[in-house]
Amino acid sequence: MDQFLQHLANALIMGGTYALLGIGLTLIFGIMRIVNFTHGELYAFGAYMMYFFAVVLGLNFYMAIAFAICAGMVLGAAIEYLLLRSKRGADIDTTMLIMIGAWIVLQNTEILIWGSVAKSINSPFPIEPLTLGPVSLSSVRVFVLFVALALIAATYVLINRTKLGKAMRATFQDSSTAALMGINTSAIYTITFGLGSALAAAAGALLGPVFVVAPAMGDLASLKAFAIVILGGLGNITGAAFGGFILAFAEEMGASYISSGYRDAMGFLIIIIVLLFRPTGLFARSERVG
């Protein structure tokens, strides 16, 4: 029982991490429908920027997070402006290929700049765990969990309640009609990609101190993020959050009670099974024909 509680707590903590990875991609993949292979790289970029600001420049931890997020937003907006602007309306595979190219370029540029040896960032949180009865939790990760929840809430409000959010959704459903509504669709594209990238960088900046910062750190993150976004249903912020927690739960239980070798397999099996029963994710919306 105690062990089960610990696993449950682990799943919750990891779910926070996954949800954090997922939300940035919900904007770019879920709403813009760009198969964004650079997501993991922006995550890694956020982590490297965090390293740069917090360790190289020695700034305050929280300030460094803020700067890293801004840097992510700038890089994301630049990618959109330089690589995607002229390819709007191109089909999904074309933009995907551009993003694959950008992924390869970014990752190897990172090696070129930072070297291939992993970096680490110290967090101001104590290394001693928080203990609640039989359960031990890392305090940084509890912090990450709460920030993740806050970012999810903020993103949800942004997309569903604000004018900007409506403009975003309208733009990606039908951009020429959105333009007729007075929306500056060009700006919306750049802003959305920038925001999604900022969230990816936020994930990197927050998780960099939890894990280590290495050039290939984004690859697994990308894969998980895609899975999470899909699990929840494209473009659905709360769905992505739930997707993160479900994936974490499946993996944790799979690793604990089946076999640690099949840990990731559990996650992917859950995705396959969920999609077989709910072909458009857990929180799908209906569409019509005719």
């Binding site: 959704r169 309208a170 020429s176 333009a179 007729l180 007075g182 929306i183 500056n184 473009g235």
Partner: protein
């Protein structure tokens, strides 16, 4: 209010407009008729900045608006209800209307206008929380019309507003459009239902294969033998 001079528009190699000129005086209802593919929609799209003009000029209240972005043009007061509904399929009816007044800041009045639209189309009021993509064809058309009205434009352009509407709603819609004109908003309308359109307009233009071939008051076109033959289906419907 709106004046177009020698407008030429191309889609790749296709020249859709070959030098079109027209005038829409303030507080009038001007109708553009013509066969399929004549370039009616293209004219409206060029005005609202969705397709670039290859040459020619578009003046709104004397101001040159050629080459401006769609959002700038809307902010000058030109709204466009596009052909084929084009509602935002994944958003609710209410959200569609809210996006329609994206540039407006007067929150209080917006609520009032939304209620006004729901008053005009009770069908939409029943479905305010429904995802627009699941509305029936006609319901989507109503929504598109309502959405265009939400920006409180000075000039509103309708592209085939009666498409897919039931006969009773068609006549209601035309009444609404007349009402818009009577309330002081200038209207430019493209319509296949030529008889009804010509009957209600102040002035009409006939577009064929990218060129203006005829213009005049509605009755003039209704009585024109060529128009009767080609667009009113003389001897067919009016038995």
């Amino acid at each position: 209010m709106l004046e177009i001079k020698n407008l030429v528009c191309r889609y790749g190699k296709v020249t859709a407009l070959k030098g079109v000129s027209l005038k829409v005086p303030a507080n009038s209802l001007v109708v553009l008729v013509g066969a399929n593919g004549a370039g009616k929609s293209t004219t409206l799209r060029a005005i609202s900045g969705l397709v670039p003009a290859a040459s020619g000029s578009i003046l709104f209240n004397g101001e040159e608006i050629t080459g401006r972005t769609a959002s700038r043009i809307l902010s000058l007061g030109i709204a466009h209800c596009p052909e084929g509904r084009r509602v935002f399929g994944q958003m609710t009816v209410l959200e569609n209307l809210e996006v329609g007044c994206y540039l407006r800041k007067d929150t209080a009045l917006i609520r009032q206008d939304i209620d006004h639209i729901f008053g005009l189309f009770p069908r939409l009021a029943e479905r305010r929380k429904q995802i627009a993509g699941t509305l029936s064809g006609g319901e989507q058309q109503m929504l598109a019309i309502g959405r265009a009205m939400m920006s409180r434009p000075k000039l509103i352009m309708f592209d085939e507003p009666s498409l897919g509407l039931a006969p009773n709603i068609v006549s209601q819609t035309f009444d609404i459009i007349k009402g818009i004109r009577d309330a002081g908003t200038t209207v430019l309308m493209v319509e296949q239902n030529a008889f009804a359109a010509l009957d209600m307009c102040n002035h009409a233009y006939l577009l064929e294969a990218g060129s203006m071939v005829l213009e005049g008051p509605g009755e003039k076109l209704i009585n024109d033998p060529h128009v009767r033959e080609a667009y009113l289906g003389a001897g067919l419907a009016h038995a």
